[in-house]
């Protein structure tokens, strides 16, 4: 079990013209689970491959438990890997496949049996041990593959590359649960790559959100939802994603279409600013709050999505199922204090906003 430290890690596949991963310095702490989350092409797999040793970074150094492993190949890094698709020996039974990584480590017979029994019970494959993998459904094969990655208790870290891709939707959460239990019971440092936000947020203690090679935010799921630090996090985390629109600022008082709507918590903001509010925090208000046109109301059963327009901007509010308004009419909305964010030209949050209501002033 170990810390993994990245120091200025960056990678370019074309000799520095473009960067797949821009410089990252951070420590993945011993025993914690991290998810690398982002759309395809964001650099998450490149970063994982650098950690595993499949790829040598074009810049920076990587340390496992204080030891510089940048130039070491995968097999000298003491890590386990699980890939997107099952990687198994088909001439061996499931049991032999699970025993294999342990035999290589020269463990005693008793220890091997104990470990294989534990892991197979946790993954729910204890009744499949004497079958050859090819006889199993592809999702069960992948579970065996997960077992192989997890069976050793002496690894520095376990790296997962979208391991649940081939697993049936209805079984995914069960497996997430088992993986989480395994991670907690082994205390392994885990790094998990996925483009699925649910998987990342469910599994990880901390999520690293990546976009176009940039690490845009590291945080817990609560933090990414409540306090995004970057436009991309607002957009990518949450469904529907964050609403964005432009306001005019004068000494940090913000106006939309000439109406004052809020004040930013940072002084001296002027000119056109980009604002973001999540649909959950755009809440029904009263006369004096911001007036919107109601374009459409979607009833989703337990909640409603109200599509609003104002000054050419389209916004969505997520409201409870008892909300009603006339489609084509007007409705008042406000936003939760400090849940509206001002972004700068680099898409980074520079201030939060609290609402101003004419009715309440």
């Amino acid at each position: 079990m170990a810390d993994i430290r990245l120091e200025g890690i960056a990678h370019s596949y074309d000799g520095g013209k473009t960067y797949a991963v821009r410089p990252i310095t951070m420590t993945w702490e011993d025993g914690k689970a991290y998810a690398l989350l982002g759309p395809s092409g964001c650099g998450k797999t490149t970063l994982l491959n650098i950690a595993s040793g499949l790829l040598k970074p074009s810049e920076g150094r990587i340390f496992i438990d204080g030891k510089d492993v940048t130039d070491l190949p995968t097999d000298q890094r003491n890590i386990a890997q699980v890939f997107q698709f099952p990687v198994l020996y088909d001439t061996m039974t499931v049991r032999k496949n699970l025993e294999f990584p342990l035999k290589n480590r020269k463990l005693s017979r008793e220890e091997i049996t104990k470990r294989v029994t534990e892991i197979s019970a946790l993954l729910g494959i204890d009744d499949k041990l004497d079958i050859k993998p090819s006889k199993l459904r592809s999702d069960l094969q992948q579970i065996v593959s997960l077992g192989r990655g997890l069976v050793r208790s002496d690894v520095a870290a376990i790296l997962f590359d979208e391991p649940l891709t081939v697993i049936d939707q209805n079984f995914k959460w069960t497996l997430r649960n088992r993986l989480k239990r395994l991670q907690l019971s082994t205390g392994a440092t885990v790094v998990y790559v996925t483009h699925d936000q649910t998987e990342a947020l469910t599994f990880a203690d901390e999520v690293l959100v990546m976009d176009q090679g940039n690490l845009v935010q590291v945080g817990t799921s609560e933090k990414l939802f409540l306090e995004p630090e970057h436009e991309f996090v607002g957009y990518f985390i949450g469904s529907p994603g964050m609403n964005f629109f432009e306001v005019e600022a004068s000494s940090s008082v913000l106006s939309l279409n000439g109406e004052q709507i809020g004040s930013a918590n940072k002084p001296g903001l002027d000119g056109t600013l980009r604002l973001g509010v999540r649909p959950e925090f755009l809440v029904p208000g009263a006369k004096g709050d911001i007036e919107f046109n109601v374009e459409r109301i979607e009833d989703r059963g337990v909640y409603k999505l109200v599509h609003l327009t104002k000054a050419g901007f389209q916004l969505i509010a997520k409201v409870d199922e008892n909300y009603s308004a006339t489609v084509g009419g007007l409705a008042h909305f406000t936003f939760a204090p400090d849940r509206a964010f001002v972004f700068d030209g680099n898409k980074k949050v520079i201030a939060t906003v609290s609402p101003m209501s004419k009715a309440r002033n």
Binding site: H195, E222, F225
Partner: protein
Amino acid sequence: MPKLVLENVRYTQDSEEFIYDFSAEFNSGINLLIGPTTAGKTTLMRLIAGLMTPTSGSITLDGADLKKVPVRDRSVAFVYQQFINYPSLSVFQNIASPLLATKKKPSKQEIKARVEEVAELLGLTPFLKRKPSELSGGQQQRVAIARALSRKADIVLLDEPLANLDYKLREQLRSELQSIFSNDSSIVIYSTAEPSEALDFATDSFVINEGALLQSGKALSIYQKPVSIAAAVAMSDPPINLLNSKIEGGNAYFGKTSFKFERAGTAGSAKEVILGIQPGKIVLEKPAHSSVSFSCQVILAELTGSSTFVHVTIDSGEQLVIEIEGSKSFDLDEKLTAYFDPDDLYGFDSETSTAVFFPIGGGRNG
């Protein structure tokens, strides 16, 4: 307005029933075919497209029997889950290809105008000269959809067209598709396994399971009044929670919990009922109004960003999902007390799985 009518359509192969006595009417605009994997959605679409022939029953378009129209003369466009484009052709040529295959081939100018119109609609204008392989997955699927649109087919079949795309792209394309087809006279049949898509489209929906039509109507009304457990499950995500229970003498029992419960149709002698409650209707903070409480233990909390799905077990060993807003973490095996309003309960006959009662409108738990 064109109308596609299926009457008692049946499809069997090697004495296995794939489509069972399917009757439905599809009108112009988006019609949603919803059901789990292997429900028969693709088979039904292939029958409509003429790629397979029904064993019995009829398929008519505006009264004309489709069986008598050769496949290549049918005005049908088909988009598959796995997007298929011609790799060697440019995006422009891909979109134009169905126009070249029609009987009376349009002029060069007409083709250009139509391709540009469709490309504009789908945001593909900047990519017309590129090859599909030079596009992202979402853009490639848009090209496949553009191909389906270009010849203005009477029937457009979209078989889980967004299933292979990441969820942000799905969100975006879903709303684009709605606006594209809202002004179109085509009959669009859109299949999905995801209830959220059905509720999103809010259009005529047809719940299919094991080759049979279970229920049709607006997605929301099926959600509110499903005829059976299968229809309720198909229309809720996460699936509706089901609890084995007994209703007797004005009380309902599940696990070790009992509560006062009276609904039309539940009076009289003891009745085994499967109670249903939507995950979003169970709360973890004691509500102000009267409610039923029960204890449970966390198996796992799934965080989606804007909501958290807490999977729990109750004393009977049954598993439930509780959906709460926002991102909240729970410890594995954490003990919780959960609450629901009995007005929000659905009831299903424990033998036939058909609905016995529905939530009482305007439940206070909203």
